[in-house]
């Protein structure tokens, strides 16, 4: 430290200025990095994902609507996987959605505070369980159970959909509870003061008021379900055929990617087809996020 302090000028005049400058630099750099990374990812998937159409001259129509997936014979039809993904997701949302919303409503409206305090951590644990564990439990408990009850081989849409229904529960429960809690108390009080029962209050006043929040809960549940890979792969059967009813084995977009990607040679039609599926998943995810935005805007 110099004995005589020399007067300093400019942005670094004081320690606070210096800290300010560094902090802003770090925040800007981090944000720029994220934007660049996301754009790069999107661009890469968009380029690789369209090579099937630009390099291999497969028509997008064939990719989307043909059920014949035989890349060795230049037939990369992915209808089976698209239908597979949509059906397991639909199943998960039809089962897990109402269930999750019911629990969310219970936590927000009926449960005594102590019970909420006990259930919250339990639900958070559900989020933390790795998907391989869900899949493994599905494989060792659910698949044999379905096999014994129905006489099918156990693998298929039902098993995958059931595992997914459980996996989306924490998302749906947490978000629908939040949605219920944001409904103003005046609505609750007004309804009860009019002589409505609790159920009438919930079903006729609170649920409609929370509708957009609940929609978001379900959409994010869908987003969770459609991208799930490992847990689904273990129980869906991985058969490249359209599901023959609930018990039929089939395959989904992410499971097909994970099964074939390691063996796909660089630049091969198979690799291009898998990238197209990945790009399609990205587009679906983006569509879901847009749907969330739309649902939230309606509320505002």
């Amino acid at each position: 430290m110099a004995a005589i302090a020399t007067p300093r000028i400019g942005v670094f005049a004081t320690r606070a200025h210096r800290q300010e400058f560094i902090a802003m630099l770090v925040l800007r750099a981090a944000s720029t990095f994220v934007v660049v990374a996301i754009s790069a990812l999107f661009l890469y998937l968009a380029i690789e994902g369209t090579k099937l159409f630009t390099v291999d001259h497969v028509s997008p129509f064939q990719f989307l609507f043909s059920p014949v997936f035989n890349p060795d014979a230049n037939k990369p039809g992915s209808l089976v996987f698209i239908v597979g993904s949509l059906s397991v997701t639909l199943f998960a949302v039809l089962v897990g959605g109402p269930f999750g919303i019911a629990v969310g409503v219970f936590l927000a409206e009926l449960a005594p505070p102590r019970m909420v305090a006990a259930m919250k951590p339990a639900i958070e644990v559900l989020v933390g369980i790795p998907s391989v564990v869900y899949g493994w439990i599905g494989l060792t408990l659910l698949v044999p159970l379905i096999r014994t009850v129905t006489g099918s081989n156990g693998f298929g849409l039902l098993a995958a959909g059931t595992v997914l229904s459980v996996m989306i529960l924490p998302t749906v429960i947490t978000l629908s509870e939040d949605a219920m809690r944001t409904v103003p108390n005046s609505l609750r009080e007004g309804s009860l003061a009019m002589g409505a029962t609790r159920w009438q209050t919930i079903s006729r006043v609170l649920l409609p008021a929370a509708a957009s929040g609940l929609t978001v809960a379900v959409i994010l549940g869908i987003a969770r379900a459609i991208g799930e890979t490992l847990a689904v792969q273990l129980v869906i059967g991985n058969a490249a055929v359209l599901p023959q009813g609930l018990l039929g084995a089939t395959a989904a977009l992410p499971t097909e990617i994970v099964i074939d990607m390691a063996g796909a040679q660089q630049g091969s039609l198979l690799e291009h087809a898998l990238f197209s599926m990945a790009f399609l998943l990205l587009l679906i995810a983006m569509a879901l996020i847009l749907a969330v935005r739309f649902a939230l805007r309606k509320r505002a």
Binding site: D72, R147, N153, G237, N238, A239, G263, L270
Partner: protein
Amino acid sequence: MHKTAVAAALFLVGTSFVPRIASADTSITAAGSTALLPLVKAAADQYQSQHPDVKIAVSGGGSGTGINQVVQKAVDIGDSDIMAAGHPELVDHRVAAVGFALIAHPGVRVTNLTKKQIQDIFSEKVQNWKDVGGADVKITVINRPRNSGTRAVFTKTIMGDVSISSAGLTEDATGSVVTTVKSTPGAISYAAFSGTHNQQGIVELKIDGVAPTDENVQSGKYPVWSYEHMYTNGPPNAAISRFLAFVTSNSELLHKAGYILIRDMRVHESDR
């Protein structure tokens, strides 16, 4: 406090650039065929205990993965049940031969199938075991994925021009095929002897009356077998050469793990 933070940051940044202290250990990586995996694993364990300075990391993934990874130099050795076509840079080391058994759940009450019956089952022309002389149980076909060498060998030696129906289930490793066949009534699949011999709870089927044994493979009576390849990208270095020689020459290990010494083969791939 400020200085500590800066020092910590510098330390964190610094450590990622400082090269790790060079160790005297040699490390070898191998990946690919799950039919060859038991042999490479057993050989690696034994070799490492004899040569403590060598570290060998072995993983599966399937033959297609093995070839892909060695082409990209992601691993030193790519294990495969099939020849790697179209990669002139790869050097082939044939380490053993292995037979592949057709395996089924014991409840199907069938011990022998003709080649034609197998083709009918895997192309879904026949969907119940009673149509091939077994119990009244629905057939569940389990296949290996596209990149599997085992599937390629099965296709080449049994299916011929008949294509495998895509309706079957898919399991992506020899081990999981065997586990699924054990637990699924009516299941049928195919896997290397190294994964099926000495297994309880499955039946190894005869093909046209010929039992899936090493002896029948060696004499050429049993049709489903292949050489096992360990590919290197370019000629192997000294350490890898020594390990490959160890795998190929260790007859006791080969037999115990369910493989056949190449010099014991009295029939050749070209004879088929």
